[in-house]
């Protein structure tokens, strides 16, 4: 088969799997698991073949026009360069892991068939985005992901948190998608085509008339999808979904789509210096804010969610300095270790019966109960904190190196200001990242207190996946930073000495400070009992998680916050802690700025509609009704009355005719 055929099959297989799963889910539940696991697995193999064949040399570029669509043609196009090939492998890999993990995680869930089908559809949509060579086809995948995330985040729709979170995820991403759509149209109008190759050609020849406007409009959509400030608020709340969904959304799909989109159209953004600076500022604010917020979260998954936002900040920072190789490199390594983090967190939540770090810090020997999760999570956290030689180190250093490169003025692709902003924010975030990674590890695995409740052995499907994912988290960076430039633009990804030393040193400082703080506060832990635990020894992990999420707010007063004086993050952040825990009041701000005015407007409109408009309508109805009542009175049923009226009319008419005829 040609590479093109294989590439077409890659998104098609999960889509067919999803369709079959949705159709057969009720009638033949036995097929649900094979239908869920096999298509992503085959797609992974095909994607790997495509990547090997492509080999970074020749861009696969195929297109077919189904039907004429007017002035700007829309084509079913493939555009597979090195980035696309590798990202597709990552997506298929993570999706396969998630599907295998889900078979154990949602073992007893009655809605498993539809869940698995939606995950497959989600994967298919992301693969479509990755491979598509046409912006409208890309948009189709982009929007399918939006609707799938709505359904998947709301999987536990019995809980109000999940309902609210799914709505919020949908609405916030759609808020970004509206300018995104307009930006796409503007871009296609300027370039004369939706084909990515033609758009890039047009950009190379300076054919864009409004580069800044287009870049900023597209940036809004990317901020919504990739959870960048100021549209990031949906991501922490999306933790109300099942853990495998979080892993899928955070590691490979959805949030990666935004970064990948910029990487693909980077020349468009580079055409506008202003857009690059905006991108850099956005990345910096996102990175630092999310690092601070992650340090204050109590829910283990929310910590990871904020860390995702921060790592995406790194990627956008790399894009802001014009180095998409570094961005996609970080995307790949982050995809691996973030998927691992989430899946391991799912195991921990199941074992501990709670998602609260405060409660976990009061449990003895949680690490002994889930050794697989303990070791793999340690690896993943080290990768997250960018400690050499884990994969995160290399990818993050490539970002920092690129930033330094730009900051010192060695390139004309990006403004120097963007370089400085990214570099400083990146280093600061490295410190924060190490701090919250250390905090998470210490609180989760070094707890003191009573024994954790027993939930039995974790299913094999779940633990095996953890080890499978641990391998790339451990070694992807070290082995691939020499090879990847072949696939990418050819720019060197080797860490530079300065940034490596500074970055690692900062990370170590962050870790050590957190450790010191933890030593200081852990004495308090035993004295303050805290926590609520959901114990379902016989239930599957999904049930435990759903209950843990549902009980968090009643037990602690907030989904994100726990009044735990033994939290090292509280000591470190000081007065900032309170604000960081609620995401710096951005939700409250949005509520005040947007939600309330909209609701007030809706109330006003309802009032106008009910009381003003309907009054007219009712008035318009009343008059004919009165007339009708009057006319109805004439309908007496008495024939003589009718005939009287008839003859009277006849006489009047006859007289009138005579008068007219005689000219009187």
């Amino acid at each position: 088969m040609t590479t093109t055929t294989l590439a077409v099959l890659v998104p098609l297989l999960p889509f067919l799997g999803a369709a079959a799963g949705l159709l057969l889910g009720r009638t033949a539940p036995g097929f649900a698991r094979p239908l869920a696991v096999l298509p992503p697995l085959v797609a992974l193999a095909l994607a790997a073949v495509v990547a090997v064949r492509q080999g970074g040399d020749q861009t696969v570029n195929a297109a077919t026009e189904l039907t004429p669509t007017g002035s700007v043609p829309i084509e079913l196009a493939l555009y597979i360069d090195g980035f696309a090939a590798l990202v597709a492998v990552l997506v298929a890999f993570v999706a396969t892991c998630v599907q295998i993990y889900s078979t154990g995680y949602l073992r007893d869930d009655p809605r498993y068939p539809s869940y698995a089908a939606l995950v497959s559809l989600f994967t298919s949509a992301m693969l479509l985005v990755v491979y598509s060579g046409d912006l409208i086809v890309l948009l189709v995948g982009w929007e399918i992901m939006g609707i799938c995330s709505y359904f998947l985040v709301g999987h536990y729709w019995e809980t109000p948190e999940a309902r609210a979170a799914s709505l919020k995820a949908f609405l916030v991403t759609k808020l970004g998608d509206v300018p995104f759509l307009i930006g796409l149209f503007a871009l296609a109008t300027d370039a004369g085509s939706f084909r990515i190759t033609k758009v890039l050609d047009a950009v190379a020849h300076g054919g864009l008339d409004h580069p800044t406007l287009i870049a900023l409009l597209l940036l809004a959509g990317v901020a919504g999808k990739s959870a960048q400030f100021p549209l990031h608020t949906w991501l922490p709340d999306a933790m109300a979904g099942p853990t495998p969904v979080s892993a899928l959304i955070h590691a490979a799909t959805m949030v990666a789509a935004g970064v990948y989109f910029i990487a693909r159209l980077l020349p468009v953004f580079e055409a506008s210096q202003a857009a690059m600076v905006v991108l850099a500022v956005m990345a910096a604010v996102t990175m630092i804010g999310s690092g601070l917020a992650a340090l204050a979260q109590d829910d283990i998954k929310r910590v990871l969610a904020y860390s995702t936002i921060g790592q995406l900040g790194y990627m956008t920072g790399a894009l802001a300095v014009g180095d998409r190789g570094a961005a996609v490199f970080h995307l790949l390594s982050h995809g691996a270790f973030k998927a691992l983090l989430f899946l391991a967190a799912g195991v921990i939540i199941h074992a501990a019966g709670t998602n609260s770090l405060a409660a976990m810090s009061r449990m003895k020997d949680l690490s002994a109960r889930v050794p697989d999760a303990y070791w793999t999570m340690t690896v993943a956290l080290l990768a997250l904190a960018a400690i050499p030689p884990f994969s995160g180190f290399f990818s993050k250093e490539s970002v920092l190196g690129a930033a330094e490169h730009v900051a010192t003025g060695h390139t004309e692709h990006a403004p120097g200001a963007a370089g400085w902003i990214t570099l400083v924010a990146g280093l600061l975030t490295a410190l924060l990242t190490a701090a919250y990674a250390t905090r998470l590890w210490l609180l989760a695995f070094r707890g003191r207190g009573t024994e954790a409740p027993d939930h039995g052995r974790q299913p094999l499907t779940m633990t095996v996946v953890l080890w499978v994912l641990a391998a790339p988290s451990l070694a992807l960076g070290a082995f691939s930073y020499r090879v990847l430039p072949d696939w990418f633009d050819g720019r060197d990804l080797t860490p530079t000495l300065t940034t490596s030393v500074v970055g690692t040193g900062v990370a170590l400082i962050g870790g050590l400070v957190t450790y010191a703080a933890w030593r200081h506060t852990s004495a308090v832990t035993a004295r303050v009992p805290l926590g609520a635990v959901a114990a379902h020894p016989e239930g599957d992990a999904g049930l435990v998680e759903a209950e843990a999420i549902a009980t968090h707010e009643p037990a602690y007063g907030d989904v994100a916050y726990a009044p735990d004086p033994a939290d090292p993050g509280r000591l470190l952040l000081g007065p900032l802690h309170r604000h960081a825990a609620v995401g710096f009041h951005l939700d409250a701000l949005y509520t005040a700025l947007f939600v309330r005015p909209v609701q007030a407007g809706a109330t006003l409109v309802r009032f106008l509609d009910r009381e003003v408009v309907e009054t007219y309508v009712r008035g318009a109805g009343t008059l004919p009704r009165w007339l009708g009542t009057a006319v109805r009175r004439a309908q007496t049923g008495n024939l003589q009355t009718y005939v009287s009226a008839l003859l009277a009319g006849t006489v009047v008419l006859a007289v009138a005719v005579v008068l007219v005829a005689t000219g009187a």
Binding site: N638, Q640, T641, S644, L647, A648, V651, V658
Partner: protein
């Protein structure tokens, strides 16, 4: 005729005119009493006077055949039929206070307006027209018969079909539908043979009084037959 206009004024009526006027007054008065009297039977009798007066007017207009037909059919049969109808509907002998409906003032207004309009138009149009009654009678039996059977044969025969249809219709209307309960097989065929009659639907509501209604219907049918035979004679 134009020459005659000046010769005949309204202030010098001829004898025929005087007779016509007097008989017309009687006719008109009888008609008014017919439509206003509270005694129903009297109304029918005053109607005889009015119709007879009209017959005289026909004679005065030299239409003798029509005058006799008028006497035969109207006075002889129609009024008799009406009297039968009054009796069959158990009209009270003597004054009935509710002979007029509540509609009478509207009716009066309409009638007066119509009368005013008609009289005005008619007088306006024909105040100078003169009928020459001298010479051979225009409506003699001979003339009428010749005209009828030379020029009007086809409508005449069509009219006979109409009379037949009316006869059948009157029978069907006035006969009571045989109650289905009495003897199903024979009577159901009979009732499907004849067209469904109006009282049919009404019978169900008073079904428990079936036998009584049955005898009543027999009587009604009989009277209808009489009606029709009389009418047939009249038409001839």
């Amino acid at each position: 005729m134009t020459l005659a206009q000046a010769a005949h004024g309204f202030l010098s009526p001829t004898g025929v005119e005087i007779a016509f006027l007097l008989v017309g007054l009687v006719t008109f008065g009888a008609a008014i009493i017919t439509v206003t009297t509270k005694q129903l039977v009297h109304a029918a009798l005053w109607l005889v006077v009015a119709l007879g007066g009209l017959a005289v007017e026909y004679l005065l207009l030299t239409a003798e055949f029509i005058a006799w037909v008028q006497v035969l059919i109207y006075v002889g049969s129609v009024v008799v039929l009406l009297l039968f109808g009054l009796m069959l509907t158990r009209a009270p002998i003597g004054r009935s206070p509710d002979a007029d409906s509540g509609n009478r003032w509207a009716a009066l207004v309409v009638a007066l307006a119509a009368a005013a309009a008609l009289v005005w138009v008619v007088v306006d149009a024909f105040r100078t027209t003169w009928i020459d009654l001298d010479g051979p009678a225009a409506g003699s039996t001979e003339a009428t018969g010749a005209s009828l059977f030379q020029n009007w044969v086809l409508p005449f025969e069509a009219l006979s079909v109409l009379l037949l249809a009316a006869l059948v219709g009157a029978i069907v209307l006035s006969r009571k539908a045989k109650a289905e309960s009495s003897s199903p097989p024979v009577n159901s065929r009979a009732s499907t043979g004849s067209s469904p009659s109006v009282p049919d639907s009404r019978n169900h509501t008073i079904g428990r009084n079936g036998p009584v209604a049955g005898t009543e219907s027999a009587k009604g049918t009989k009277s209808a037959r009489e009606t029709d035979s009389t009418e047939q004679e009249g038409a001839r």
